[in-house]
Subunit: 388 residues, 2 copies
């Protein structure tokens, strides 16, 4: 394995009813809270009222930013930054899924930055400080509740970009699995694909001699696979929801499961280009792209893919060649995504060849994409073509 | 799984040559450093000179506490506390294995406490604050480099007791696997047993529905088993040493691999009583006691032990009964300990029946021991008898 440093300061508070700890978690940070949320599902579920009651109990002043989009947009981020400045916000409280939390991170960093927050997404400036963030997670997917990553879409320039910083790790995150009972089926599916994709990005690596990290990745994958259909069949299955929630957090909590290994992230890069133009759900984009990325790259290190087939999908080698075994593992991934109802082709969203060149060009804007195989513009285009 | 909260703020800096980051890691905390170390192996290895050079480069004033014992003693802790007060120490830098780090934690808490530091060990007082601690780890074993636990021996009262606190998590820990190349064979063995025992204490639980946590535990165990003999055969095998070091840290980094489950810790409790009187190495005590604890308790939840046999030791069920399969897993543990040269009986240290009653009584001083099976004084005595 490679040298690394790792630190993750987020305090996670996990379990049914843990929202009742919100007041005591918020109190140390001050009285003025920017409450960030999405389309209003937290009002329908009653969570909004519960949050306000908790904040009222400590006499907090609550400023609201609602309507944050599923692919959170720069326009929402800028609104939040304005509110932080005009209202002198002490803490940003994100209540929602990864999109809401990502927006909160960009707001937190932007509020203490003199320039344009988009600079951070375009790698033109480094985050040096940020307002503190707390979260209440309502969707198992991105891991944003325990890491320093955020993805923001700029709808004017049709760009979807990411940043990462130690300064925007949430100070605390409340993870109550019962808050995910009401997540619609398609969003649960997208979350499952997102969690698994985060592990894939770390698991398929050229780094040698990282047996513990490989097993930690496999542990998350096996547990997601085991629990996804249970959660879909019975949305109120506490154990299944709790296992998925913990897997989502573990899959991307600052890279703990893959310390000292080089990650890939090419599939995420390609997906960002697709949803930058077509605004499709991130998890759906990954479900379409990842098996095709696998097919395109598996020969780079076929032993990673034979191990994946055997350990994650339980496929026995028997008389199979390396090639057959590796492809059987990729096919099992595709079949699992199909089984839970995740899309398999760009055609599912009526996406054709129109923008393949634009997407491929934007994907390599900062250089070749990924590490397992370094993808040039032409490679990206071929993967997109496989996904049509 | 149960509700839980988890936070681990330690910054781990891992890899060959990372000691050269010491100066920049120490600098934010101040100029007066209490350097805590053990019997002098760090002088023979050259690490001591390297540390002093790093500290000199930031004009630090270094105060020394050397000679911390393998089972660190209250007398050493009290010396350290005196030094912290008289020299107005800003940061405690522990260079060594778990004993040295544990002593540093007790010193850090005791220096800011008006009463007797032993109060913390006897649960008479709660730690409210502590001086900051940094560590350079030289032995893969206790996980103390990334948790808030410490075990201290009081040689006057023949008591060995533990405390845990968020306040004494190291702020940073430097983990350079090459620093463990010179660890003697028996200490490497004790470290391996200690790491595996920490996982056992978390893995054998009555908590239902924690499949990810079970797999994380199994991941650590499989990786330790795979690398232990490599490190023993070739002490300078970087990969084997690095894997063991990462496993040691992951095995007990604040309980990450077992969040939301009830841990046991009975075997540690019994071992502490044995070494409180006989001052044997902690890892050796665990190697003697753990297989006997397993044999004594396995029927409480035999499925935990059959899973252990199958997943960790790769034993196929075939026509075996649950009982036979569970016992085969326990036997495989015993055989592995034998194979790496860890002791199997108290007789190995010429320990007989003399103090069995005293040890059994002290072990349950604060009530029944453990959770997988709640052990009364008589149970502890029977386990000790099995271990004779």
């Amino acid at each position: 394995m490679n040298s690394f440093s790792f630190q993750n300061q987020t305090n996670i508070v996990f379990g049914q009813g843990t929202v009742n700890q919100l007041a005591s978690l918020v109190a140390p940070y001050g009285k003025t809270i920017l409450l960030v949320y999405g389309g209003g599902s937290i009002k329908r579920s009653g969570l909004y009222d519960e949050v306000l009651a908790q904040l009222k109990s400590i006499d907090a002043k609550v400023v609201e930013l609602s309507g944050v989009e599923p692919n959170p947009r720069l326009t929402s981020v800028n609104k939040g930054i304005e509110l932080c400045r005009s209202e002198k916000v002490d803490l940003i409280l994100a209540v929602g899924g990864g999109s809401v939390i990502d927006a909160a991170k960009a707001i937190a960093a932007g509020a203490l930055y003199d320039g344009d927050v988009w600079d951070f997404l375009m790698h033109k400036a480094q985050i040096k400080d940020a307002l503190p963030i707390g979260t209440i997670l309502t969707l198992s997917a991105t891991g944003s509740e325990m890491n320093g990553n955020a993805v923001i879409s700029n709808w004017e320039t049709k760009q979807k970009r990411a940043f990462g910083s130690q300064h925007v790790y949430p100070r605390f995150s409340i993870l109550d699995p019962t808050l995910t009972y009401s997540v619609p089926r398609d969003q649960t599916v997208n979350g499952v694909v997102d969690i698994m994709s985060h592990v894939f990005e770390q698991y398929f690596t050229l780094t040698e001699n990282a047996p513990l990290q490989e097993r930690l990745c496999e542990s998350v994958l096996l547990t997601v696979i085991e629990n996804a259909e249970k959660a879909l069949e019975n949305p109120n299955d506490y154990d299944a929801r709790a296992n998925l929630m913990l897997c989502g957090t573990m899959a991307l909590n600052g890279g703990l499961i893959s310390v000292g290994t080089q990650n890939d992230w090419a599939s995420h890069g390609i997906e960002h280009e697709v949803s930058a133009i077509y605004d499709i759900p991130h998890g759906s984009g990954l479900s379409i792209l990842f098996p095709n990325w696998m097919k395109y790259v598996y020969k780079e290190r076929i032993d990673r893919f034979t191990q994946f087939a055997e350990r994650v999908w339980g496929i026995e080698r028997g008389s199979k060649s390396d090639d057959e075994l590796a492809l059987a593992g990729i096919e099992a991934t595709r079949e699992f995504f199909n089984r839970i109802g995740a899309p398999a082709t760009l055609a599912h969203y009526n996406i054709g060849r129109d923008n393949l060149d634009v997407m491929a060009r934007e994907a390599v804007l900062f250089g070749p994409l990924g590490n397992f195989k370094k993808l040039q513009q032409e490679d990206v285009k071929q993967i997109l073509e496989l996904a049509l």
